[in-house]
């Protein structure tokens, strides 16, 4: 069940030049699966901003966000004693962990990486440590490689300009020698999702983005067509199974 509340900012620090991690303390009982998101209210912005839950525990939620516009710029400037954010928590379906197969692979691109962290942790706890493939534009953009390794996940990085890891796209890493997988989970910009969709013959789950009005299913702002009729990215998504995606 979705909740609304004020969450105290415990940490808010840059991971790269424009990607920040924020740790918020408050009621996390509404979070039920990795891949869910929160909707953040910010002074001076009319609409809330959807941000994936990168990780959570009994008392905190971790967000990882990139500064791209007014809202995320304001987030980056927040902090100090007593600073708090108004969040809607527990939004979206999140990834289905039960379907993960025997050898899951996680493919993340840019700020599509964060929700995969919470996912990797829980797959690992479930005895299905995933392979993790991360794509970034350039060396300076890379984040969380070590965090995934620390979970015990074999982790590889590709950069578009070859300045770090393998040169190329995250899907190129699928061709690495010895790479075996029978299920995929992915999150990233739409071109990447399309590439993953084509590159992976196995079933899997994709997390989508859309401009949102409400984030909790009320406005029909974020609808998309699937093989099983129209779905709201915010409520019936953001995660769709590969087999229902119309591409």
């Amino acid at each position: 069940m979705q909740k609304q509340g004020l969450y105290t900012i415990q940490e808010n620090a840059p991971l790269t030049r424009d990607v920040y991690r924020m740790v918020l303390a408050g009621d996390t009982s509404a979070v039920t699966a990795p891949g869910q998101f929160v909707n953040v209210r910010l002074d001076g912005c009319y609409l809330r901003r959807p941000i994936s839950i990168a990780d959570w525990d009994d008392a905190t939620i971790t967000l990882i966000y990139k500064v791209v516009g007014e809202g995320t710029r304001r987030m980056a400037g927040m902090g100090g004693p007593g600073a708090a954010l108004d969040l809607l928590v527990g939004l979206g379906n999140g990834y289905d962990l039960a379907a993960c197969g025997a050898a899951p692979v996680l493919l993340g691109g840019g700020v599509g990486v964060p929700p995969l962290y919470g996912l990797a942790k829980r797959l690992w706890r479930q005895g299905r440590p995933p392979a993790v493939l991360l794509g970034f534009n350039t060396a300076a953009d890379v984040f969380y490689e070590q965090e995934f390794r620390d979970l015990g996940c074999p982790t590889m990085v590709a950069t578009a300009d070859g300045s770090y890891g393998q040169k190329g796209f995250v899907t190129d890493l699928l061709n690495t020698a010895g790479m075996r997988y029978d299920y995929f989970y992915t999150c990233g910009p739409e071109p990447m999702l399309r590439a993953v969709y084509s590159a992976c013959a196995c079933p899997g789950q994709l997390s989508f983005e859309e401009r949102m009005g409400c984030g909790f299913g009320a406005c029909m702002g974020c609808s998309c067509k699937t093989k099983y009729g129209s779905k709201r990215i915010c409520k019936d998504g953001p995660v769709l199974a590969k087999e229902e995606v119309v591409w």
């Binding site: 009319y46 009320a218 406005c219 029909m220 974020c222 609808s223 067509k225």
Partner: protein, 307 residues
Amino acid sequence: MVDLRVTLSGLVLDNPVIPASGTFGYGNEFKDFYDLDILGSFSFKGTTKEPRFGNATPRIAECDAGMLNAVGLQNPGIDAVIREELPRMKRYFHKPVIANIGGFSVEEFQYCCERIGKEEQVGLIEVNVSCPNVHEGGINFGSTPEGAAAVTRAVKQVTDKPVYIKLSPNVTDITAVARACEEAGADGLSLINTLLGMRIDLAHRRPVLANTMGGLSGPAIFPVALRMVWQVAHAVDIPVIGMGGVDSAEKVAEMMMAGASAVQVGAANLVDPFACKKIVEALPGVLARLGVERAAELTGMAAAKTE
């Protein structure tokens, strides 16, 4: 004790606060946030004869103190609403609901109003002749007095439920449209629908909305909405439901002082799912501060200085 009740064409509401069509679905997404029975009523998502997917995405763009939407009347169609949504709604909403109806021809409006008018859960019908996001056949009935009157006359023939026509603000003279609806038999009027607006995505050098334009709502439009409610309330003798940018009990009072008998709250529900609950709870205090004992007294309370 303040009496919050107001009356719309014989329908007594416990208070004047009504979530606006398109921002509250069929209530289902809000019932977990709070008990919907605290509302005066709510206006369900604009429903058409056929099921509709609506427009391509992006359908939403942000603005200063507001938002654009170009949803394009996505809904499951009138039959599915009667078959599935109304029975489900019965479980979490125990008051008469406002049925918001969209359409692309006089016949479609008639079809939907006739069917929905037979449902006992429906307290009144709100006929949306003003959706800025759908132009199939190029007709927007709400743009002309004649178009709005034609729809009004047609739907009044097929239902006994009170019919409120929802007016478009994108007109030169909204009082002309309002009067035409009144003469055609409308029991009341709802206004305003969204203002036609647009944003451009600079990086991609194209409109943000796939549909190019969309409807502006939120606090940005409140002064325009208030002006139109004032004008229309002074021009007709039927009740007016005021809306557009209302996000506080004070703005409910402003709308009513301008002439509204009840007030709808739209976009505010999307940014704060508790918006209507908060407004209902704040109203008694606001009325007390204004020295008003019955909410119904607010209607038209503001006097023009020049009249």
